[in-house]
């Protein structure tokens, strides 16, 4: 019964999302634009700026294990590899955004339409409701992210840079996609729930998204400037750290999502 209820919540959430075409922008169009933007950046920068001086400075900034295998490549390719290596972090913006949008829309919509009270009068358990809603955002967030990663790899190969993929796709790439991305999805959803508990419209609730998107850009910035290079170990530590933070945030979200809090305090 539990799995059936969760599935029903999930289906309903998707039906509501489908009923408003603008919501699909978040799942389809914006991720594609972000992927296209990353590819364009690599193409433009290596075409117009990819001078020896810039590349050499960046390679020097990168740790030895990241830069050590690059000298066999041309300076333009070295630069492309360095930029493409940021893409796994750049991709994190997609799940952060989608999960947050789903969380805020689905919960704030329940508040606005006042459906939570009749829903809480049915036998559905609060956690079943929360899991159904979380999955309704997590599934498209993960699938879209992985699809964009696939599109990126295919585009890189299609643009004639396939020989560089071996330098880009490694343990850090997989850890980022399989461990870090779900952690970001969970954090984004939970922050969306927390934001929604106090907001009365989806826009106010989505402002919380800034909290999670900005650190992602900071990660990219930190790596590009060479301050920290996310080796597999560091990526693993980062993912586990976010999962740990997720657990703490889940406690807050569950407390806020208790029947009593929803009915009495969510106004």
């Amino acid at each position: 019964m539990t799995s059936k209820r969760i599935l029903n919540v999930l289906r309903k959430e998707w039906a509501v999302m489908r009923s408003s075409p603008s919501n699909l922008l978040y799942v389809v169009l914006i991720p594609l634009l972000l992927t296209g933007q990353a590819l364009l950046l690599i193409w433009l920068v290596s075409r117009f700026v990819g001078g020896q001086a810039v590349t050499a400075a960046m390679i020097r900034a990168a740790p030895q294990d990241a830069a050590g295998s690059l000298p066999s490549l041309s300076s333009a390719d070295q630069f492309r590899v360095l930029l493409a290596s940021q893409f796994n972090f750049f991709l994190l913006v997609i799940p952060a955004m989608i999960a947050n949008v789903f969380a805020t829309l689905s919960i704030v919509e329940e508040k606005v339409t006042r459906t939570l009270e009749p829903l809480l009068a049915t036998p559905v358990r609060t956690w079943e409701l929360l899991v159904g809603k979380a999955l309704s955002g997590a599934i498209p967030a993960l699938l879209t992210t992985w699809a964009c990663a696939g599109i990126f790899v295919a585009a890189v190969a299609g643009l004639g840079w396939g020989h560089l993929l071996g330098f880009v796709i490694g343990p850090s790439w997989y850890l980022s996609l399989l461990l870090l991305t779900p952690a970001v999805v969970a954090m984004s959803f939970v922050l969306g729930v927390i934001g929604s508990s106090r907001a009365n419209d989806p826009k106010s609730a989505q402002n919380i998204a800034v909290i999670i998107v900005l650190p992602i850009f900071a990660l990219i910035g930190v790596q590009v400037t060479g301050l920290v290079w996310f080796t597999p170990i560091l990526t693993l530590i980062l993912a586990l750290g976010i999962w740990a933070a997720d657990l703490l945030l889940v406690y807050t979200a569950v407390a806020l999502f208790k029947r009593e809090s929803i009915v009495i305090r969510w106004r």
Partner: protein
């Protein structure tokens, strides 16, 4: 079917419901009256297992709402103050979604049954956003009935409906009661409470009174006989006041209101004496106090 014992709910320093003890029998419509902020919705939420009481206890269909809310929700239906639907989904989709949470409910069949019963079968595929308030209210009642609950909590079901729709709605409630369901009816509409409920509970944080409308009338107001006369003189009024069984007599135009020691016993004697005194009687009957007068008197009493 519904029993509460010293049921209390506080929100910080504010007490919404205090020491509420009442009982609604199986198959009964219990009217639940009180001014705004009297704790009616809080009581319904406690009985429906949505919020927990601070102290005291309740049982609904033999189940403690605070201990087994999921089991309770299988046997109760709630029509909240605001209907609450996913406006961009169809009426049918909304009903099937809510039905999907009950263990023994064929959502598709039940949704069709109640869409038809509520006169919404032709609009089942329309978005709820296009529905009028009355249609949404009927749809909300359909949702509350999908799993054939034994107990129904109706929180101001006809508020904001036009008189015709409100009347249809009251007929529906009567039909549901006829099917043996216990109905807990919170309302501001006193005529509705009187029409539908055998007994009425008046609350203002605490329970002020619980009885049949007739008993509440008797409790609050002495029974009076009203005599419509062709004409009245001061001498006649004085004569009436002098009758041994008359406790009080008041004149309003040609209408004489008389309080008798025992109205059933003394009424023929009053008629006879009035005629003997030369009065020409046009009409005679018992003064009927409206439930509104009874309610206002009870609420005033409760707040003093």
């Amino acid at each position: 079917m519904i029993e509460t014992e010293r049921l209390t709910r506080r929100f910080g320093a504010r007490t919404a419901v205090e020491g509420l003890t009442l009982k609604a029998n199986a198959g009964e419509i219990l009217g639940f009256l009180g001014p705004n902020g009297a704790g009616k919705t809080t009581t319904i939420r406690m009985l429906a297992g949505i919020i927990a009481p601070t102290c005291g206890r309740a049982t609904v269909a033999g189940i403690r709402p605070d201990q087994e809310p999921e089991r309770l929700h299988e046997v109760i239906g709630l029509l909240p103050e605001a209907p609450g639907f996913y406006e961009r989904l169809s009426a049918r989709r909304n009903l099937r979604y809510f039905a999907s949470f009950y263990s023994n409910c064929d959502g598709a069949t039940q949704a069709e049954k109640y869409l038809t019963l509520m006169g919404l079968a032709g609009r089942g595929d329309d978005r709820v956003a296009s529905f009028s308030k009355g249609m949404k209210q009927r749809l909300a009642l359909a949702r509350a009935l999908l799993h054939e609950p034994k107990v129904l909590f109706l929180d101001e079901p006809t508020a904001g409906l036009d008189p015709e729709v409100a009347r249809e709605f009251r007929d529906l409630i009567e039909d549901l009661s006829g099917e043996g369901r216990t109905i807990f009816l919170s309302t501001h509409n006193l005529a509705e409470a009187e029409q539908l409920s055998r007994r009425i509970a008046v609350v203002r944080t605490q329970l002020i009174a619980l009885d049949t409308p007739e008993a509440l009338r008797k409790r609050q107001f002495q029974r009076s006989i009203v005599v419509q006369l062709e004409s009245v003189s001061d001498a006649l009024l004085e004569a009436v006041r002098g009758f041994p069984f008359v406790e009080r007599a008041q004149l309003q135009g040609n209408r004489l209101a008389v309080a008798l020691s025992d109205p059933d016993r003394d009424r023929p004697e009053l008629v006879q004496r009035l005629v003997e005194s030369g009065a020409r009687i046009l009409e005679i009957g018992e003064e009927k106090r409206s439930l509104e007068e009874v309610y206002l008197s009870l609420v005033q009493e409760g707040s003093s």
